[in-house]
Each structure stands twice: as structure tokens, then as C-alpha cells.
Symmetry: C2
Subunit: 373 residues, 2 copies
Amino acid sequence: MRVGILGGGQLGRMLALAGYPLGLEFRLLDPVPDACGGQVAELMVGAMDDTYALERFCNGLDVVTLEWENVPVEAAKFIAERVPVYPPPQALEASQDRLVEKSMFARLGIETAPFLAVDGPANLAPAVAQMGTPAVLKTRRLGYDGKGQWLLREDKDAEGVAPFVVVPCILEGFVRFERELSILAVRSTTGETRFYPLVENHHREGILRVSYAPAPHVSKKLQSQAEDIAARVLDELGYVGLLAIELFQVDDRLLANEMAPRVHNSGHWSIEGAVTSQFENHVRAVAGLPLGSTEIVASSAMVNLIGDHPPLETMLALPGAHVHFYGKEPRAGRKIGHVTFVDDDESKLRKSVEHLQGLIQNHDVSYTARKTS
Amino acid sequence: MRVGILGGGQLGRMLALAGYPLGLEFRLLDPVPDACGGQVAELMVGAMDDTYALERFCNGLDVVTLEWENVPVEAAKFIAERVPVYPPPQALEASQDRLVEKSMFARLGIETAPFLAVDGPANLAPAVAQMGTPAVLKTRRLGYDGKGQWLLREDKDAEGVAPFVVVPCILEGFVRFERELSILAVRSTTGETRFYPLVENHHREGILRVSYAPAPHVSKKLQSQAEDIAARVLDELGYVGLLAIELFQVDDRLLANEMAPRVHNSGHWSIEGAVTSQFENHVRAVAGLPLGSTEIVASSAMVNLIGDHPPLETMLALPGAHVHFYGKEPRAGRKIGHVTFVDDDESKLRKSVEHLQGLIQNHDVSYTARKTS
């Protein structure tokens, strides 16, 4: 069976590495010739709005999936006329526009932060007046890792931000949440569905830094609330593959923040920490194979390597460290790898994370010093 | 870091898959253009006695290792003049000739079955008379999976077998062992050494069928006896990489049967069953990186898929089944994949193995029926 993946970054790379043991073969499509997935699978270089490239890409494939949520919906539809595409184009449509996404959540009875459409600079002040502050203005499309977001602390901040509303935006009420969680769900072409345990995520500068899985102190009720949210979205979208939904926890309520129609950074721990990784289960789902158990092996912590990393030898010398490099050149703000620790003892897990974070900070300092000296 | 692997079969394939997350790149050399490692890594097609091919192969590599124990020693030496080769050529020399190997074991004080050199047809009868029967005649070189071996039940069997002694052979006393075990050891370029727990191996028709790890009912004394055997061989050979030694258990004694200077079929369970797989630790060892923990995650059982396999969907539907296909076409007697189960409950593990073996037998029957109908 030959699987095509739209996008050739680290997610495509890890999908291929998870699928090879099942005897599957992979072809990636990416506009960038040095996309890191090309180190481990066939990489076709082409633009996703180039129908000639898409036509060639599809040739001989049994199924196509994606690792980038901003694949043009038109490209997915073009391919879907030739080869099955999972997740389906309507899942892309729903996730690429924050207003469409939040409206879908609301329609499905899933709680979110309050939100208002802001279609142009003139709409901002009235929206802020209606919503109150603090609030967050976000572009409806193409934001990631905190990019395309502005925090409005007071009503008068609207004035300074208004010039950015050159593209359709959404204004969201600021949620005083206790923590950020994510639920990973997977559904196969046969309808078989599984959920991973809730994950606790820690961001800094808008980028995910650390995930703990399972999230500590999660009641059965909270887990089933999260699974119910995910199940509604899976059903609504006729979804196939892995779906991630980022959630805010406020007391014992969960508010949906956003979804990703693909394998997700907050699921990387599952390579070692779950019986079946999110990558293998996504591949199984789109290939119509039975899903694997989503149970944990033990508790896990995943630390992202952003921009640069301590020496490989230093990290591998940490007891139980599973290092994953993506084959990408270091560059500020870039996700170039991650490290997972698996341990039944959660206090040991936290110590391992702190230890590694110390190494990362020390390394960053010396790196910066080298650069500026 | 670019790693070359001599041999492009399933072991090379799994080494590459284990090394990619460390950011390593791989180039395989194999005489066969459709060697299955070529599906996941750069494959150079060339003969191992072709110095021009070896020269091109080495170009740009940082280290070379092997996945086939019959790599010509001359090829390994030729490469070693250009790029470090691990395990070192002397390890190949010792393992490629059963007489040299057994003599080394004896020299190191490691117990083996009694053995005698049989250099030609005329030497056989005297050797059998001296050794007694039952005994096993084996070619000194190039035997694998039970090929090149003849069981002599009685002295008079020597006559029928004598014509096979056209190549140097070794006659070994027949050992009435309780079970077959293997010890996997790994040593890095820095000298750091780790041992996996003893594995219990079940063969049929000379081919490994099932491994249990850790082997049940292993005393600390037996484990340390095995580690001591492996440590002596590692030291003797200045070994770097993963070394497997097959052992016979007779009461509380261990007899060394043979060694493999490479990752080993009886270590495949470690992909899911150990904190660090034999493949990752071999790669770490030859790359001079710190070794990972060889502790188990839980008990494991590995079942080989030989010749053909039940449908993938059927196997993946078995709870906890980790399926590994090698991307090879089914063919009688060929190792085309394996399945690993990991479970703390050993009786569940045995039931999973029996269940899968039932599927394999049923599938074989139907396969045969289809072929002959």
C-alpha cells in the first residue's frame, strides 16, 4: 500500500517512520526541496496549488493524508477526485478558519471562549466594546505558534491593533484558564474510534514547550467530557485519521480552543509512552487497518527542542531520554526535535524535565554568547 | 553523521529506522537491487568484493557497520583503512568460522559442546569414533538457519554424510540442553557496556520461531554467568556494537553455541519491550554516543513470520500486537516480518503467541491449498 502525505516536515517524517514497519510505502509532497521528511521517504517537490504536480503526486498512491493543516482545500478536493483523502477536505475547511471552527464548536454544543467576527478595522472598536477586555484579536487564517495574535488588555489597545485588521479576524474573550490540555482522538475508515488520555501542555512565547501525558489529576468525568467533545467533532466532519483538540480547563469545565486535523505536537510522547503511537494509529486509520491500543505504557513527559539543542551526547546521557531529531538545521523559534521521558514515578519525570530544561537554557545562553562575542 | 551499513536486509532496515530519530543518515551496500532496506534508506548496489564499489560506498561516511555476519573480512579491512568499521574485522574473522569461534570460546574459558575439526571426508569416521554419537556435523563457514548441518544419530551415519565434507567442517558433540537462550550485549567506542536480559528462543526446522524476553526462571547467577561470557568475548575482540551469543542451558550451566557480530533476531522484541532497542543501542555504540537503558518495559514475546503471513488486518486486530513487516515478498523459509507482544502478564503473553501461531498455521494451510488447487 502506497500512502501519500501532503507536507514533508517532521510530522510527515514521523508518520513514515511509524508506517514502514507495517510494510507501507510513502511519498511526500512539499514545496521546499530540503523538507526533512525527504531524508527518510520519497519527496516530491511541488506547490500544492499546482494541479500538474498534484496529478503526478497522486499517481500510483492508494490513499493520501496530510501533515500540514493549511493544505489548500482546493488541493485536497482535487486529489479526492482521484484518490481517497483523509482527513476529508471539510475537516480542513473547518480548521483553517477560526471563525468557522469556533462556530462549529458552538453549533455542536461545545463550550468555547466568547467570540465575535471582526471583518475590518472599523469593526474592531465596537467588537471590543461588546466583548470587554482583556480580549485576544486573532487572524482567522494561517496563525500558528502564537503568530497572528494580539492581546488587548484595555479597550484603548484596540486603536493600536486596528491597522492589523487587513485580513478577517476574530475577537475572543480572554479565558482565565487553569491549564491547557489536549485530547487526541483517532478514527479509522471503518468508524473504529479511540481516544488517548488527556495531555497537559505548557507553552512559552506561544510555542509548546512541555507536555505531560496523561495530564495529572484528571477525573474520569473530565476525560469523558473531552472524549465527548472530540466525538462530536469526528462525527460532524466524517473524520478519518488523528484529530487533536486544544482545550482550556476552567474549574471542571473544558473550553475548546482550536483543533488540528493531523498528528499533533502534544502527541509526540505516544511514540514511547503509549502502546500505539499517534503516528502509527493515524497511518492505520487512513489505511483502513484496525487501530492499536491508545493505553499508556507509563507516564510520559515530552520536551520540545526549539531553535537549537544541547549536544546529542549530553541529552542521551540523561537516564531514559528518548531523543528525536527531525533532521532540520537549527534556526530561532524552529521546532528541531523533542525528547521524551517515560517513568511510572511522576516526580522523577518532572526532575528529568527540569534537568533537560536547565541544559537547554544553559546551552541557549552559551549559544547566544558565542554568537554575540 | 552518516552511517554506512554493509548489507541492506531487514536488519539494516531496522537499524536505519532506529537511527533516524537521532538525526543520523544511512547508506546501505547490498549486491541485491531490491534489498528491502532500500525502501527506507539510500541503497548502493554493489558486490562486497568490489573495491571500486567499496571505495564509492565509503565516500562521505563517518562510520561503517554491518548487518550481515558474512561480510568478507577483506572488505571490512579495506574499509577500515578509510573509515572506522564496527564491529572490527577481527570479530568477523572469529564468527565466520565455527572452528575459530569455538576455539576462541575454549581459550576464554567459556564452556561449549565438545568439538573436533573435520578437514576432509577421510577425517570424519575417526572424529565420530572419538566423539561418539549422537553428534552434529557442521560446515565451518556460511551456515545459517540450520543449513549446512547434519545430525549423526549413530556412528554408521558418518558414511552417508562423508560426501558433504567437501568443505572444512566441525563435528560437535550433541548437547542435551534444556533450552536455548541468547545474551545480547552492546559496547560503545567509549567502552561503555550494557547487557539485555537473557532471552529464551524456540526454533523449528532450524529457524527461530519465538523468543521470550526476559527468559522465564532466570536466576541472577545465570544472568551474570551469561554476561560474563559476553564480556569475555567483547574484551577479546575489542568489540564495538551489538553482539549476540546463542547459549544452551544444561542444568545451571551455559554452553556457548555461536555468536553473531550484529543485531540479532532474538533481540527484535527490544523495539517495544526494552527502554532502548538493540537497533538504537547498536547505532549509538558505533556512533560513539552514550548507550541507552537495556531494562525491559514489560515482558515480551516475539513471533517470526516465515515464508508467508496471515493478513495484516487480522494480526493488527490482536490486542497489543506490534507488527513489523520487512517489505520482502513472501517466499518459503524466508523471514518476512515479526510480531511482538508486550505484557506484564506472562500467561496472557503465551496465549497471544498461541493465538498468532494458530493463525499462522491456518493461513499456511489455506495458502498451500490455494496453491495446489
